[in-house]
Amino acid sequence: MSSIAQKKGFGATIWDFMTTVDHKKIAILYLISGGFFFLVGGIEAMLIRIQLAKAGNDFLSAGLYNEIITMHGTTMIFLASMPLLLAFMNAIMPLQIGARDVAFPFLNSLGFWLFFFGGIFLNLSWFMGGAPDAGWTNYASLALASEGHGIDFYTLGLTISGFGTLIAGINFLVTIINMRAPGMTYMRMPLFTWTTFVASALILLAFPPLTVGLFFMIFDRLFNSSFFVVEMGGNTIIWEHLFWIFGHPEVYILILPAFGIFSEIFAIFSRKRLFGYTALVFATILIGFYGFMVWAHHMFTVGLGPTANAVFALATMIIAVPTGIKIFNWLLTIWGGSISFTVPMIYAVAFIPSFVAGGVTGVMQAIAPLDYQLHDSYFIVAHFHYVIVGGVVLGILAGTHLYWPKMFGTMLSEKLGKWTFWFFFIGFHLTFFIQHFLGLMGMPRRVYTFGADQGWDLFNAISSAGAVFMAIGVIILLVNVVMTTIKNERVGNDPWGDGRTLEWAIPSPPPFYNFAQTPLVRGLDTFWIEKMDGNKKGMIFAEPLGDIHMPNNSIIPFVISLGMFIASFGALYFLDGDKPWALAVLIIGLLITFGSMLVRSLKDDLGFYITKEELLEDAKGGKTDGH
């Protein structure tokens, strides 16, 4: 393998992506598959809004509606939002800390393929006897009563993709702990790296309870155990606890990286150092910490008793404090800055009021007695869409525009970007603002239709109209992506002109070894410091030019994940009785997985070296788009 860029055929490109261990290519894989699942989840959302557009609609049957809301929630959280954020973490975080790759490139690839096959497995349920239909929270009493194999697709699919996410989390943590460039102390790390760090820590500690809960559910449904079966002494509340011990930190796993992206945007496009960097860092850590102590606020109406409810209500309200600190820091970063309203900046500015609205309703629901009123109503739906769409999705869209040039070397159209923004933003508020009132008027969530005499027609119609606006916005974004890719106008290192952190000091896209020489970091906003000092190279170097050690590509992560994918079908049909091949499939799948793991551990894979001469050649020829 050499660093010399070559023209490759389509098949070779596919093979390259299947075997890649390069964090930038894995980021692209996450972006594409996350984007794909985002569209799938979006279509499901549109179907929901069509069904609810008028009273007594029969566009969807009640059962199908249940499947669609379940898959909409599950897809959007696990298969769209998280992978899209993982895409940016992969693409940008190693560059921000001056690393050549993540700590475990092989595991990075494994994490992606596990997520991918888990997502595919989950979505295959549509074609193999029906999707899960117990809501994205999959409460045990509902889930155990659900017929068919929908729930099993949910549990097995999420188990596989959960392993992938856990691996990604550990990988990012080790990368940040151990692979920072010389001089990059913790308190000089860009905010996006910090939020990646804390979100990864939450992944590390929040995914095990989910995995265990999912295993209980698998055993209960497929192997006749009785964790949640009340007649056998089980307890369905245990599932709710395990799900939310994971589920609440999950919300912060999603929102913190979005906060990180916005922090970068505010600093770049206000041309100012972040106001209160230290406070932002500690607020991030505090949010992560409190995130583990509030899960039962999802369960106020379960009947935990006044003491437990009071404790969790208070803990929940406390989280508003660090979040508020962040909001003020961002506002003060903009204050007095030399602002340029690019597309990412517009998203960031729009994010603040939208997210605050979601936060305020969140504090309302933290008041346990009030939550008894709001629980399971459209008020809740409005709240979490304000947080997730107004926070996370706006962050992802902003990040897409901000980092597109760094990932692909060409800028998305600003003009089309603004069209996307306005359609999406107006559509978002149109869809969800009104749902607060629907909730207060008594409309319960997860109902597939409502009567004409209930007085909810108009508001639901408005909400559905808003969804159309959002869809148009997304379509414009797709057009934007296609047109940008066709035009392919190459950009330089710092396309926004005001980049502050290390990723903007190297070519777009970066060479596959990222940094020919490891940079030396002299302070917060490294690249900005060097720019202000008139350093034309954009950084100073911590080492002389020398050979670089790089990992080899490998197909093994793909095969390991494929084995788990196959084994899942075996587990799924294990107890069906009429499918004697199920056990064989289970065993074959596990053999593939463990066999390829064994191959990996027995075969030495020591990587290869890029020689100094090749690096010099690369720098001269400007052939920087990898190998």
Binding site: I177, L204, P209, A296, G546
Partner: protein, 110 residues
């Protein structure tokens, strides 16, 4: 990284010193092991002797805790150099573990 391993050949006295230090450490490990066996014996004996439940439970839990601390700090060298960050994460894990157990032994049957 091509150049992150520097081979340092120690002088004879440096080598003897390091070897001696490791041997001393190993003696410490043996003592730790003896304590662990002792704690286990007490725990089993207390249960076999049939003391009051309210006396036994806190004491055997405490002894389990001590054993785990011995394992972590002596056998697994948690206090060693370069363990700061991993110790922090382990304690975060223990914290989450603690509240999980606390919740499931208290509020699931209320």
């Amino acid at each position: 990284m091509a150049h992150d391993t520097h081979i340092h050949v120690r002088t004879q006295s440096e080598f003897e010193y390091a070897k001696k230090k490791r041997a001393d450490e190993m003696k410490g490990h043996l003592a730790t092991f003896a304590i662990m066996i002792f704690l286990t014996l007490i725990a089993f004996t207390m249960v076999a002797a049939g003391f009051s439940t309210y006396l036994i439970v806190p004491i055997i839990l405490l002894m389990a805790g001590i054993q785990v601390i011995l394992q972590l700090y002596y056998f697994m060298h948690l206090s060693g150099k370069g363990h700061g960050m991993v110790a922090f994460f382990l304690f975060c894990g223990i914290f989450v573990a603690f509240i999980t157990v606390l919740a499931l032994v208290t509020i699931v049957w209320w």
